[in-house]
């Protein structure tokens, strides 16, 4: 994976150093990856349990809209006050995200709906609420503090990127260093055995979707920090993109296997390729193609390498089929 990042980077450096290596371009890569990256981390978590969360982007937008509305409402009365209340606004926004995650959790963990259906449903619900709420208009307005934060850099590195890295570290800690993380992984690897090991699946699933909701909320904050507007249908194209990133990162869609570092690297890879393509004047269509080629190539490469090491396990699906039949 790391190799891939380096390779992609090298390629475009050679193709068009002037533009690609320009400080602005590098900064832009760092500026664009956070919001996608955080969503991808959430998607990875959901996939780790063998599920998926299609409602992430809708949740993020709902958060952004909440914050923007709240801010505008308060600022209408007393701008200064709105700035002071920035932390509160932030918390409320994130809380909305967690709430969205909770509803997903209820449907998946308690009612027992297949995640892909549950979250497809909630995706439309949240998005619908956003549309009805904003009347379709793009809201303008965010705490100046947040906007400044979104524009600021630390030693040339955009602060948003630092946030992304921090979130990644936190999730890494959660997955690899906490009982919950272990349970989530095992739940994904074999729900039946997890149950017989005393892992309370509904609790684990609920915690998972609460976390994805939280991350969705954080992504929403990033949206708003990057530019002070909120709309119902921002980031629609992210839904599948983050799925691509997650699997490119080596996450097994059937659950049980995923790495946070992988997600970070995969995010960067795609960002780099994207910017690189524009730098050498290739079209969005060609980029779509490249994305696919990378995905397939990486998977095939891994598989071949991995086969040489160990006898191929039955194709994914077989395992979960037998263990969950």
């Amino acid at each position: 994976m790391l190799l891939l990042v380096v390779a992609a980077f090298a390629l475009f450096t050679v193709l068009n150093p002037a533009v690609f290596l320009g400080p602005i371009n590098l900064q832009n890569i760092a500026l664009a990856s956070p919001e996608v990256g955080v969503l991808a981390l959430a998607m990875m978590l959901a996939m780790l349990t063998g599920g998926i969360d299609l409602s992430l982007v809708s949740i993020a937008n709902l958060t952004a809209i909440t914050m923007s509305t709240l801010y505008t409402a308060i600022a209408a009365g007393d701008p200064a006050r709105a700035e002071q209340l920035f932390p509160v606004i932030l918390l409320v926004g994130v809380a909305v995200g967690v709430l969205g995650g909770f509803l997903n959790g209820v449907l998946v963990a308690w009612v027992g709906i297949t995640p892909i259906l549950a979250t497809l449903g909630t995706m439309q619900i949240y998005n619908g609420i956003a549309v009805a709420w904003t009347g379709g208009k793009t809201l303008y307005g965010a705490p100046a503090g947040l906007t400044a934060f979104g524009q600021s850099t630390v030693g040339g590195i955009p602060t948003l990127f630092v946030v992304f890295i921090l979130v990644a570290l936190a999730i890494g800690l959660l997955v690899n260093r906490t009982p919950l993380g272990l349970k989530v992984t095992l739940q994904g690897a074999n729900p039946m055995a997890a149950r017989f090991s005393g892992i309370n699946s509904s609790r684990v699933l609920m915690s998972t979707y609460l976390t994805t909701g939280l991350l969705g909320g954080i992504a929403g904050v990033l949206f708003l920090a990057r530019n002070p507007t909120a709309s119902a249908d921002y980031g629609a194209s992210y839904v599948l993109l983050v799925v691509v990133i997650a699997v490119l990162a080596g996450t097994n869609p059937n659950g049980g296997f995923a790495t946070v570092l992988g997600v970070v690297l995969a995010t960067l890879t795609l960002q780099i390729v994207q910017s690189g393509f524009t730098a050498v004047r290739l079209s969005a269509f060609e980029y779509a193609m490249a994305q696919g080629v990378i995905l397939v190539a990486v998977m095939v490469f891994d598989q071949v390498k991995w086969r040489r090491r160990r006898r191929p396990a039955p194709p994914v699906g077989a395992v979960s089929a037998t263990t969950t039949a």
């Binding site: 009982p179 272990l182 095992l186 074999n190 055995a193 997890a194 149950r195 892992i199 309370n200 006898r311």
Partner: protein, 504 residues
Amino acid sequence: MTTTARSGTPAPVLEVRDIVKTFGGVTALGGVSLDLRPGEVLCLAGENGCGKSTLIKIISGAEKPDAGAIVVDGESFASMDPTDAIKSGIQVIYQDFSLFPNLTVAENIVFTSAVGARRRFFNPRAARPAAQRIIDDLGLALDLDAEVGTLSVADRQLTAICRSLVNEARVIVMDEPTTALTHTEVAHLFAIVERLRARGVAFIFVSHKLDEVLAISDRVTVLRSGKHVVTAPAADLDPRAIAQHMTGQEVDDSRRVTELAPGAAPVLEVEGMTLPGAFHDVSFTLRRGEILGLTGLLGSGRTEIAESLFGVHPYESGTVKVDGVPTTVRRIDDAIAAGIGYVPEDRLTQGLFLEKSIADNIIASSAEGHRTRWRTLDKRAIRSTIDTLFRRLRVKAPNVQAPVRSLSGGNAQRVVLAKWLARRPKVLMLNGPTVGVDVGSKSEILDILRAQAAEGMGVIVISDDVPELVACCHRVLVVRHGRIVEELAGEDVDVDSIRKKVAA
């Protein structure tokens, strides 16, 4: 070597020549040869991980050998693919059954032969008679329309057996076909084997139940860590001798139970526990340091009793006390919180995370117990727990990072055991703890149980393997039609009386 063809005996229907197979580092088979004659039953014996299943998978074309040849009726294959094998009349019961959980019993039974016959069309209804016939032959009560995924291990095993018998095979390979079966089913099976061999069908039979082995086989081939040790007529062998060949040392399967402290406190008290449709008015007491046997026929309800105590199917009435504290077990976490552990019957799907490492499996149910002050996982403590158990249970694997899928049956079972020992439960219930475990490991596992009991754990062993119960249990309860009908203790705990009570 005693396999040099005796004059007058028919030509072998199957020969295996110098098969070599390695998995990454592990050498599963280091040049094994054997031959099989029409109408004979050859038994493969050997410790867990000695390569029996691997050899069988190679014969059936499920695995490709690195070197060597397979000869069927003089036709030599460098390697088979499953179709070749099936075409040349080789039927296999795999250790993991290799059934289709989403298809019905009937479909599972007839499917392979339909594939083998390269049929184009499939008619579920037409499939039933054939399946029904073989089921009647075996005197079974399988529901042809049930989905295999919903069956108990025993029923799945029976389905696998039926599948191997349904069409005219010339060689039938059975990899531990009786692990989940009780005396009666085994008897039926052997009857059929006898009938078929009379018709010239040859059998390769793998089992860790050595008395079965001797009862059914003409010749016994013993493997040790992928090498051929000896092949001898069954008549010239006894369990001790086979165990000797397998392990290279004496194996002690005699009855050894530590004297219970007279005042040993009860750790588990069950009073009038009832789950309609499964069991009724079950009452018993388990004392600290005691090993209690629970046995009975298939479907007698013993598994349900255990699973109910573990919260899988909560009992509807009755009282349960752990360490004298009244406890209600509604969900599995209740049971675990109360200090009850359960090694399930269905190791592969309920017990293990096959794709995960041994380490992850061992720690699976004790994560909470290994937390630092900051509620994160205490990696050091975890590592030490894992290493201790890995060594103490002598799991045979390159390292703790190896995926459990690559372990042999016996070693897999040790991992499940390790998972629970890591949690130090007050009561440990084991359903078929030594199913598919070789005699050597078996006595080791029993020793582990004895040791745990000696440290004050209460142990319940649910098993059909009477000698095993005799070897380690202070008392044995016999379950029939969901009720505890007998309690044997002290002197009465012996193979014959238990068998009598169970069958009665």
